[in-house]
Symmetry: C2
Subunit: 110 residues, 2 copies
Amino acid sequence: MNHNRIADNQFVQVTPFKTRRIVHTDKLMMAVWDFSDGPWSTPEPYHSHPHDQVVYLSEGGVDFFIEDESFRLGPGDMIAVPGNRPHTIRLLTPTVRLIDTWTPLREEFL
Amino acid sequence: MNHNRIADNQFVQVTPFKTRRIVHTDKLMMAVWDFSDGPWSTPEPYHSHPHDQVVYLSEGGVDFFIEDESFRLGPGDMIAVPGNRPHTIRLLTPTVRLIDTWTPLREEFL
């Protein structure tokens, strides 16, 4: 039994209410985000990046915004965000776990 | 409110005990696998593909095998599988939900 790849998780306490764990290959990155300061009255500011992204909502609820569209996500929902599309979220529940995946790697997270 | 991207989930009843939902961009694919026939006494046969893969275990437990290494995964664990590395799983619990992501797309799932 070997836990190296699991222990390779790169854990970061991003804010007092937001943590990130990262695992990746050379071309593919996954992050587990845990939020604990919901619900939010307003979304985060929009952001955009050239990386393609697909999201899985593991726990809680969010409104997911892509440009002028909005999608209400619950546990088990997925959503795809092609590169260079401005997007953001608003937490609907006290805690939320989001799984983000990107290609290529988000180098700023390494 | 618009649910198009969520409704784009491509649901397949793969076997009576295994379902798949897929969402993807042009370069990135995510699948939610739900298994209901665990635990298994033996792993599935190994398989391999050139696509990079990262896995998130959402519910249940599995042993994840990559070549001659084995990793025991529980809820919240991730594991990375570079392309062309033979890998397989063995279910440890009656039900399991695995989130698989790949780049490039697994065209055979479209």
